[in-house]
Amino acid sequence: MAAPESLVYERPESFTETPTHYCPGCTHGVAHRLVAEVLEEMGVTNRTIGVAPVGCAVFAYNYFDTDFVEAPHGRAPAMATGVKRVLPDRVVFTYQGDGDLASIGMGEIVHAAARGENITVIFINNANFGMTGGQMAPTTLPGMKTTSSPNGRDVESQGYPIRMSEMISTLDGVGYCVRRSLHDPKNIRLAKKAIRTAFETQVRGLGFSMVELLSTCPTNWGMTPVNSLKFVEEHMIPAYPLGDYKVSEAIKQVKI
């Protein structure tokens, strides 16, 4: 006799039923799900406004069952500032990739953080411009081949990677800034906890919060999904160490 069925895993209510357009093996879907679970657990889905970027996550608004706006390339933190300043009791988050946030949107992210805007930023670092076909991003590792660094990123002529979490954490307006990875279940659980803490920072008015997530891009890296996860572990993490770069005293007291 079969045991009675019990449901152990289901779609968060803050997710729509739209299938995502992401490539097989890409960790965007994992990151989306973590955000959706956190919004649902906090009971804030119906008062959340998301800001989608330009890049692979440009259609993020199709997947979250919350109000959403879609920003010009890199401008999501400015747009989020506009929303949050006129709706301070709502939850506002941006979801941005490394081309969007660390290249064209460097001005907007730094100043939103410096102003201590009470917004949450989910930052996907997959070391390239995914949407346009895998060009070099500010986060591309030295020597890493992309379609615009075909011989490998030459730091002499193409500069060095930018470590955003380290940089953002120096700003006084920041309440919470950490880097996590999505390459295995343990780290995914840690990433979810960080995302929860980031949104808790926002709803408590404790300043700007950002979670950087090391992510895969199997299609543009030219790797299988499994090898991509290994690449994150073996090459991305050494260049972008996981850790808590800034956790304000006030948020340290918050028990989740």
Partner: protein, 370 residues
């Protein structure tokens, strides 16, 4: 309310507040900075949103966000700053959310100077940002008119879910004049059925300028085109002076129109049958009234503080039926009434052709300016 002495930029700021401005995002640039400064004090004291952005890119995207949230929102800048805002303006237009932008224009191109200019006419009226999109553009010629147009700007932007710009040259922003302020209007919670302000007790909403299917983008473009026909039918505004029996029609907007009025009065005193048409909305442009005036006028004289931008729109309305002459002072120069009077006298006495390019004659007459 009684008339008070108001500086143009501060008057614009206060008029916007009284029209129910809920959020302002800006960046310093001469000659509009007093608007930012004034609102940095005024908005917080009223508990309204104010942010000095990190750049004009930041400012216009904060405007975009607040506009999506459904509040009365504005930014102000001057020419180089407005150029930086063009990306955001295109997105705002594509998303069909209302926003107000004031451009206190200065001499250009490039860094140019901080003197009064009308050189951003084409950028405001005919484009600037990428893609097809119409926008309303108002052109005040005095501090009072700028005050009166602030409330109108918000009303039009919301009525048509469109950008409403006000373009004025730096002199209107910087001058002080007696002017009357309207009463303070209360903030109205508009609860637009499109605003992304949190899906409390309703279906969630998305605001975006993306139409990934070209056929859907075409439908969106055509919706804007049809809405623009409505604006053209209902919102054309202009002022007429001495036009009843005018044989020469001077056309000028903003300060160029105001200075032209002095010249027209002086010419009338000399018995010249001349009048002035001063467009208030340069977009929608008063093509129809110029078309009608073409029946009575023997010539038009377009006066601008640029190299002849509105000139093209006047010629489009006149359609070669009578000569259109041009007098412009570009680069931050302001014409004097007597030089415009001289132009009126010349046009009155000359045997003009419809075949010649008005710019050729103007450049020849400007040859002494070196």
């Amino acid at each position: 309310m009684a008339k008070e002495l108001w500086k143009g930029n501060e008057a614009i700021a206060e008029a916007a507040v009284r029209a129910g401005l809920q959020a302002y995002f800006g960046y310093p640039i001469t000659p509009q900075t007093e608007i930012l400064e004034y609102l940095s004090r005024r908005m917080p004291e009223l508990g309204r949103a104010f942010v000095q952005a990190e750049s004009e890119l930041g400012a216009i995207n904060m405007v975009y966000g607040a506009a999506c949230a459904g509040v009365r929102v504005m930014s102000t800048s001057s020419s180089p700053g407005v150029s930086l805002m063009m990306e955001g303006l295109s997105y705002i237009a594509g998303t069909e959310v209302p926003a107000v932008l004031v451009n206190v224009m200065r001499g250009g191109p490039g860094l140019g100077n901080i003197a009064p200019s009308q050189a951003d006419y084409n950028q405001a009226v005919h484009g600037g940002g990428h893609g097809d999109y119409p926008r309303i553009v108002l052109a005040p010629a005095s501090v009072q008119e700028a005050i009166d147009m602030m409330g109108l700007s918000f009303d039009l932007a919301e009525k048509y879910r469109m950008i409403s710009m006000m373009i004025l040259d730096g002199s209107v922003g910087q001058m002080m004049e007696p002017a009357e302020m309207p009463e303070m209007k209360p903030i109205v919670e508009r609860n637009w059925d499109w605003a992304t302000n949190g899906a409390l007790n309703r279906e969630r909403r998305i605001l975006s300028s993306i139409y990934i299917e070209p056929a859907a983008e075409e439908v969106a473009n055509l919706r804007l085109a049809n809405r623009w026909k409505e604006v053209q039918a209902n919102e054309v505004r202009y002022k007429e002076y001495f036009l009843d029996d005018a044989e020469i029609v001077v056309v000028g907007f903003g300060t160029a129109g105001r200075v032209s009025l002095s010249a027209v009065r002086a010419a009338r005193a000399q018995g010249i049958k001349v009048g002035l048409l001063r467009p208030i909305t340069v977009s929608p442009f008063p093509y129809e009234v110029i078309d009608q005036l073409t029946g009575q006028a023997k010539a038009f004289l377009v006066v601008e503080m640029n190299m002849g931008q509105m000139l093209s729109d006047v010629r489009l309305a006149v359609r070669g039926r009578v000569p259109v002459e041009f007098h412009g002072r570009p680069g931050g120069m302001v014409p004097f009434p007597d030089e415009i009077l001289h132009e009126v006298q010349r046009v009155n006495g000359a045997n003009l052709s419809v075949q010649t390019d008005p710019i050729d004659g103007w450049l020849a007459r400007m040859a002494e300016v070196k």
